[in-house]
Symmetry: C2
Subunit: 466 residues, 2 copies
C-alpha cells in the first residue's frame, strides 16, 4: 500500500504537516500564522483542557477572565517584559470607525493587566495567596508558524498568583510544575517530559526563575510543553501589588505565572505518531475504540458491541459505513490514532468472536464476544502503559552522554545530550546557540529541579528545539 | 441594617452595577467597554457554558475553533453583513513591528471565516449537514457598555451549520432554539424566556430569519438571551458553499448560525436578583449551600455537615471564619445568592439541630441534623421550582394587553405589551422605535414560532430593551 503520509525518516516536518491534514486536525487560517482547529483536533484539545482544568483547580487556583485588549502603556511598565514581547505584538489602532487615542495591544500574555487588578484586590496578607487562572487566546506574531507548535494566535491557560513570601511563591510554582503539568503530561498524554530549570538565557522576560517540561519528539528534538515562572517582585513593583503584613508593614508581593498551550496537541503528535498516523494514548483519545462492521450483515452486531462498550464507560464509535471499502476505513482510523479497533465480520461472529486490532503495535488478535467489554477495558489500560513505556524507552535511548560542548552539539544533531552544566556554562551555551542548539533545562543529578543555576553538579540537557 | 445595594425600585441600573461589584462578579477592564470576570462570576459562566456545551453536542454539533483575526476583505463579501458590523469593528493595522499590507479585523462574529472553510469542506451532499460550534471571544466596539450585557469583548458560543435544503436548515435552527437554548434557560437558569421570531427590522445582518429568546428583567425591560438565525443562501453564495447533489447537480448550501453569550450571566442577575443581592437557581449556583459555623465551637460540626452534603452530591462551602462577625458573613452569602444556608450554632447543635435559611424568600426554619442531607437535597429541588415559578408569575403579571401602538408604547414604559402584529406593522414598529420601544418578537397565538412575518393573527411583544 502506498504511504498516506511522508515517512518520518524522510522528512519529519513534512510528516507532521501531512498527518495534521490527513487526520483532519487543523488547517492554516487566512491570516498568516493563524490556525483553524478542526473537530477532531479540538476534541483532543478539549480533553487536555478538561484534565488540566481539574488539576489546576486541585492546586487551589480559581478561574477568571481578563480582557483580550491591553493598553499599550501597560506593556511598558516592566522593562524586560516589553523588550521580550515588543517584536511580537499585534496592535489595534482603529476601532468603532475612529483612530484610537492610545493604541491597544492584543494580549501576548496577561501579566500586565492581571498585575493591575491584583494590585486592587490584594490589600492585606489575608488576601494572599491569590491564585488565579484563565483559559484564553493570546497573540504573538510568528514569522515561522507551524500548526499547534507556533501559531500567531494560540489557546492556553495562564495562571497568575501572588504570595506573601518568595518561598511561598516558589513552592506554588513548583506545585503547578509537578502536580498539575507533569502529572497531566505523564498520565494523560503519556509523554515522559524532562522537568528542569531554564538557564538565564532562556528565562521568561521579567522572571527570576523559569521551570520547564520538555518532550522529546520522534526526530530527536525538544519541544517545550509548559513553563512555570517565579516573577520575584518585578511585576509587583511595576504594578504596586503590595499588602500590609500581619505586623502592619507594607510589603511587595511575590508573583508567579505559568502556562500550557494548544502546543501540547503538537507534542502528542510528535512524540507518539508513526508512519501510519497518529497514536493516541487511550486516556486521552476522544474515541478509544472504533467498532468496524466489516460488512452490512455485521452492522447490527457492531452496534450492540458499541452499546456494550459505551455502558462500560468506553468512548466508542461504531463505523457502519459498509458502502465504503473496509481497507480505506481501517487506514482512516489508524491515521486518527484510535487505540483499539474491534473488527466485526460475519465469519468471526458466527464463531462467537471478533478481531481486536491494537493501533500502537499493529497487532491483530481474536477476541471473544463473551465478556468483550472487560477485555477491551483491560486492553485500553494495557495500551496506556505500553505507549508511556515505549515513549520513555525511546527517549532514554536518544539521550547521549557528552563531556564537551562539541560533543553535546554533535549529539544534538540526532537526539539530546546530557552534559555537566559546569562543562557548558554561559559561554558554552552561546556557542551551542550559534549552532542552533539550546540548553533545554538544568537538573540536579537526582533529576530534581535546582533552585538556582549555581548549584554544584548540575546536569544540562541540550537539543535542537521546535 | 443599611442597604448594601441601591434598591431596585430607586435605580435599577445602579442596583445592577452595585450587585456586580459587591458580589465580586466582574469589573470594568482598562480598555473602555472591556470586562474582567472575577472568579465568582466566572464560576457561574462556567456552569452555563458546561450546560450549553452538553446541549449543543446533544443536538449533534461538533466543537471546532476558528481564528480571532479575519482579513478585512472577508467582511465585505456579504453586503448586509458588512453594513451591519462596520461601525463596531476593531482593526489591527500593525503587527510584528510593521504596518500590515491588509488590515485585519478582530472577529465580531465568524460567519465569514467559517463560510470560507465550509466551502472547502463541503463538496458532496454526503458532507451535509455540517454542524459546527465554537466557544470564543468576539469584539464589537460598544459606545454604551454595561458589564455582561454589552461589552466590547464578550465570550460566546457561535454555531454555524450548512444543510442541503432550506427545510433542513430551518429545522436545525429551531432545534437549537428550543432543544438547546430554551431548555437551558428554563431548566438551568430558571428564566421563562419568550421565544419568537424577530421582525425584519431586528434581523441579524445577512439573515432571512432570526429567532430569539427574550427574558423580562425585574425593571420590566427585555433582554435578548440568545438568537438562532437562518442565513438562507446568502453566505453560501458569498463564499461559494456548494455541493454536488445525489442527482449530480451543483447546489448552494443553506446555512444557519446561532449564538449565546456571557450576557446570560447578566440575565440571571436581572431576572432573579433582589435588594439583598443575587438569587441563584440551585441548578446553576456554583455553591448551592453554605454551612456557616456561628461560633468557633461549631466549626467542627459545620465541617462534618459540609462533608455529609458533599457526599450527597451537593456543591457546598463551609464558612468557618468565626473571627469575622456572623451578620456580615450572612449578608455576604445573601449578596452572592447562595440558595441555602445552614447555620450551625452551639445551642441548636446541643438539641440535634441547625437553622436552614432559604435565600429566595428569606425564611429561617429549624432543620434536624438527623437525615440533614436528604432534607437539603429536597429543599434545593423545591427552591429551583419556586424561583422558576415566581419568575414566570412576575413576567406574566407585567405583560399588558394592548390594542394600539400608543397603548403598547405606554405599557412598555413599565413592562411589556402584547399586541396583534397586524395592529403594529412596519410603520407602527418605526413609531415605537422613535420612543425607544422595540418589537421583541412575534409569536403565533399558541405561543409557537411563526415561519414568516406574514402569517395571520401573529402576536407582537413590545418592550424597552437592554
Amino acid at each position: 500500500m502506498a504511504n498516506v503520509l511522508t515517512p518520518q525518516a524522510d522528512d519529519f516536518p513534512r510528516w507532521y504537516q501531512d498527518i495534521i491534514a490527513k487526520a483532519e486536525l487543523a488547517e492554516n487560517g487566512p491570516v498568516r500564522g493563524t490556525m483553524v482547529i478542526r473537530p477532531y483536533g479540538w476534541a483532543i484539545w478539549e480533553r487536555i483542557q478538561a484534565g488540566m482544568d481539574l488539576r489546576i483547580k486541585a492546586a487551589g487556583a480559581e478561574n477568571a477572565y481578563f480582557p483580550l485588549f491591553i493598553p499599550e502603556s501597560y506593556m511598558r511598565r516592566e522593562a524586560e517584559h516589553v523588550e521580550g514581547f515588543s517584536p511580537e505584538l499585534a496592535v489595534v489602532t482603529h476601532a468603532g470607525g475612529k483612530e484610537l487615542e492610545e493604541p491597544i495591544v492584543v494580549r501576548p500574555t496577561s501579566e500586565t493587566v492581571i498585575g493591575e487588578f491584583m494590585a486592587k484586590w490584594v490589600q492585606s496578607y489575608r488576601d494572599l495567596p491569590l491564585l488565579l487562572n484563565q483559559w484564553a487566546n493570546v497573540v504573538r506574531w510568528e514569522l515561522r508558524p507551524r500548526l499547534f507548535l507556533r501559531t500567531t494566535e494560540f489557546l492556553w491557560q495562564e495562571g497568575h498568583t501572588a504570595h506573601a513570601t518568595r518561598q511561598d511563591a516558589h513552592e506554588y510554582a513548583v506545585k503547578i510544575l509537578h502536580g498539575s503539568y507533569e502529572d497531566l503530561m505523564v498520565k494523560l498524554l503519556a509523554i515522559p517530559v524532562v522537568v528542569g530549570r531554564k538557564t538565564a538565557r532562556e528565562r521568561f522576560p521579567g522572571a527570576i526563575n523559569t521551570m520547564t517540561l520538555e518532550a522529546m519528539t520522534r526526530d530527536g528534538k525538544a519541544l517545550q510543553m509548559g513553563t512555570s515562572h517565579e516573577l520575584g517582585q518585578n511585576f509587583a513593583r511595576a504594578f504596586d501589588i503590595s499588602f500590609s503584613s500581619a505586623e502592619g508593614s507594607r510589603e511587595l508581593a511575590w508573583t508567579t505565572s505559568w502556562g500550557s498551550t494548544t502546543r501540547m496537541v503538537g507534542g502528542v503528535i510528535m512524540v507518539h505518531g508513526d508512519d501510519a498516523g497518529l497514536r493516541l494514548p487511550p486516556a486521552l483519545a476522544p474515541t478509544q475504540v472504533v467498532v468496524l462492521a466489516v460488512k452490512a450483515e455485521a452492522v447490527e452486531a457492531a452496534r450492540r458491541i458499541g452499546d456494550e462498550l459505551r455502558a462500560a464507560g468506553v468512548r466508542v464509535r461504531v463505523d457502519d459505513r459498509t458502502d465504503a471499502p473496509f481497507g480505506r476505513r481501517a487506514v482512516d482510523w489508524e491515521l486518527k490514532g484510535v487505540p483499539l479497533r474491534v473488527e466485526v465480520g460475519p465469519r468471526e461472529l458466527a464463531a462467537g468472536g471478533a478481531v481486536l486490532v491494537r493501533r500502537l503495535v499493529g497487532v491483530k488478535e481474536p477476541i471473544r464476544l463473551d465478556g468483550l467489554a472487560a477485555q477491551v477495558v483491560a486492553a485500553l489500560e494495557h495500551e496506556q502503559r505500553v505507549i508511556a513505556d515505549s515513549a520513555r524507552a525511546e527517549r532514554d535511548a536518544r539521550i547521549a552522554e557528552a563531556s564537551t560542548v562539541a560533543e553535546a552539539a554533535e549529539a544534538s544533531a540526532t537526539g539530546w545530550a546530557r552534559i555537566a552544566w559546569s562543562a557548558v556554562g554561559v559561554d558554552g551555551e552561546a556557542r551551542l546557540a550559534a549552532e542552533g542548539v539550546s540548553v533545554r533545562c538544568l537538573q540536579r543529578p537526582d533529576g530534581s529541579v535546582p533552585a538556582s543555576d549555581d548549584e554544584p553538579d548540575l546536569i544540562a540537557f541540550t537539543a535542537r528545539a521546535y
